[in-house]
Symmetry: C2
Subunit: 506 residues, 2 copies
Amino acid sequence: MGSNTFRLVVFRYRPGGSFQLVDEIRHAVRLSGGAGPRGLHPDALERAGHAANLYRAFCDAAGVDDVAAVTTSAVRDGANRDEALAALSVDGALEVRVLSVEEEAWYGYLGAVNSTTLVDGHVLDLGGGSVQVSQVAGRRLGEVVSRPLGAVRMTERFLSDERASRSDIRALRRHVGRELDELEWLTGTGGRMVGIGGTIRTLASMYQRSVRYPLMGELHGYHLSREGIDELIDTMAALPASERSRIPGLKQDRADITLAGAVVISSVLERAGVEAIEICSQGLREGIFYERFLSPAAPPLIPDIRRQSVMNLVDTYRCDLPHVEHVCLLALAMYDELARLGLHVSDPSEREMLWAAGMLHDAGVLVDYNDHHKHGYYLVLNAGLPGYAHHELAMIALLVRGHRKGQPSLSPLEDILRRRTARGTRSDDGDEGTLLRLAMCLRIAEQLERGRARGIRGLTLEATASELRLLVTAIGDPSVAMWSAGLETPIVQSALGRRLELAVAG
Amino acid sequence: MGSNTFRLVVFRYRPGGSFQLVDEIRHAVRLSGGAGPRGLHPDALERAGHAANLYRAFCDAAGVDDVAAVTTSAVRDGANRDEALAALSVDGALEVRVLSVEEEAWYGYLGAVNSTTLVDGHVLDLGGGSVQVSQVAGRRLGEVVSRPLGAVRMTERFLSDERASRSDIRALRRHVGRELDELEWLTGTGGRMVGIGGTIRTLASMYQRSVRYPLMGELHGYHLSREGIDELIDTMAALPASERSRIPGLKQDRADITLAGAVVISSVLERAGVEAIEICSQGLREGIFYERFLSPAAPPLIPDIRRQSVMNLVDTYRCDLPHVEHVCLLALAMYDELARLGLHVSDPSEREMLWAAGMLHDAGVLVDYNDHHKHGYYLVLNAGLPGYAHHELAMIALLVRGHRKGQPSLSPLEDILRRRTARGTRSDDGDEGTLLRLAMCLRIAEQLERGRARGIRGLTLEATASELRLLVTAIGDPSVAMWSAGLETPIVQSALGRRLELAVAG
């Protein structure tokens, strides 16, 4: 029950196994709206009580057997805390925890580190009432600061007029600067910063629309630059508050408070010397869930986010585990052999994308065997893979799509990859070259494992200027594998400019 | 092992439960190519032996535990049958059945009636060697005729030149006419005709591309008009054989034989007085599979194709059965109440689409709860629903998409629905009106069942000129249901031009 938004999220899970979000109800309650020295406003408490009562009834009706109701800075800092708690708890029917600053930061941190690969850096959580910045070192929570700089509060204090003036925005920036002034651990440190909360998601959504981002709506893992945020600030400030919801991606019930929120975020990034923030679509609520889901692990951290993401989809889409693992083994063996022969430079990130695509290449069979490469592309792209950056997700999805039929192609995700390339990449043949090389490894591995019986045990490569010779070791009759792999001659030609020759060892 | 194409299809199934195509290998062997009075050509037998050997090795490697190898008219009618069988059986390693005319028709019939709603009409199966036409009456197989009018044979006899002349095409039409002359049960009967085989699928694919069909590639259930086939005949005949594969949808290895096949199909349709053929993507191979899958049922018929299709997807996408069944119950109750009040005319087809969409509305949650209406649209549309016509499939998918968030819209499938509308529809408010009315029923039902606990047991409607009053009977606290259903006021306004009022009975 946040200072701006109330949200009920329902998870279904097997402890230690897999989990799934199954329902969500959201209300723009604006609990901290109109708050003053005497505490939260009676109208706000009435709206809050109404929503809380509905959530209680929902949990009863749906038979949710473990309810965690929490609230944050609006109630924590409000002068009429007891009155507020009575409203939120529906006179005791819901047990509502008022999170301390430390708890709020802790759960936000848990949501962020369990859905990103953040090891060292910061988590920035901007709510309606307060902003938390948490330091993360070696995946552990370090320093935490909380300041009453939430989007609703700052709007009411600095930007409540219909028109936002440049001087109001400057005043807000100065205020944020002063509030963060003595925090040495945050000043000019640079590095990774993960952002959570509704305001940050809204800004990402707006920016994606303004640039017609190809993965529009895929917010988790999106990098939003400070420059981009400043552009959005200008766009919003140029419009009267009542007309800002015309900006694509900006919902009506956030149209007034997002400008102040954006200024706060931009100021924090500037102070920290961070050029872009990584959007995390999870947060406090998910953090509370992870504590239960991962119990009794302490701290409740998923050991390997990327592996967990891939295995979640392998399970969801019912991939044939022995088959896909063997395809990965052969594909990675090819990848390593190409490096050994100097035909490419081994890159851990490429290798991991190849692994992920190998595990998920058959996901689309769930929809239909025909065109299952296209269905797999859709399923992987739209489910998302927390822990992978968007350009990696795009490459993995393109590999799934390119694992059979036709020449693999960067379109329609070219833009995502090109943007990344502009920021520098290790491969020397560009994204198209990477896609072709990885797809070649995956396709040959898949063909060698066509019989799904793990009959091809291993492989080595030899190369001449014009030829790539693939030597396999086999148990049983290798004729299907040889015939199938032979169909991949064209991709070897496009990827390496060499003829594929096949032979069985021994 | 057909007269033109060899295909290995692998099904995974639980007898009497669900089934899934899991692998497919295809070779354009052209077994009947170059056949003469002394039987099948030695080159053709060599190609056939090579493919058969590969299929045998595949079945061994993959551990396929039930192999059914069959061949049809090329071997059946060839003078060197024993020699051919030796090649196909890989010297006895595969047990190959040479299907009789009756068996070939029987399995084609089983494939067709188990994947369409055909009750009375005909099945037309055009292969490389022969054409079968089977009469279906009350879902049972009636008369059967087989003639040596296959696409490869007719190409070699009438249209083997690089350029097809009008007189050659006329001669082929006359020949088909003569061959079918004495078949009274086929002459001018009209009615439904279901088409199976590679040539018919190819023609459908070509035609879909030529008109930029929105469900491009979804061949099963597509209606291809005789007029459309005749257009394709003109298009193909205008090009030399070696250039026909430039026509979108026409594969290289069918580029020469599809013209003759199209002429045969057009001639049969003309003779039967049928204006369009319904494409069935299943056939003989699936028929053989159904015999095993449905055993010991005799005849091996799926009792209700549409129900089976929907339930297959409910199972595949792991929908919450008690929840979706209750949503259907409430949605259909609304539908019937609207009819009782004279607010629309009850239509069994609409009612069934509403049921299917109700069963599948949550399918997309498998991919992600966020945007699950969009994911469900993709999953339903791309898996397909055998037994439903394309305009019904489109409407069901649009309803899944429209079951939450925003105003339901006909785009991007408008074309499919408009085409159907042009051929006449029973509803008086067009497809958009139908979509709105059905989506309204579905959305209100879903909201009433928001708690997923079947607390709303039933409903009745009352209407005035300006108001639609929904009266529910409830077990337990109905406040979530009432609040949720209240969110659907806008769609009631667009569908019926009335205000929604809610009340709890008793």
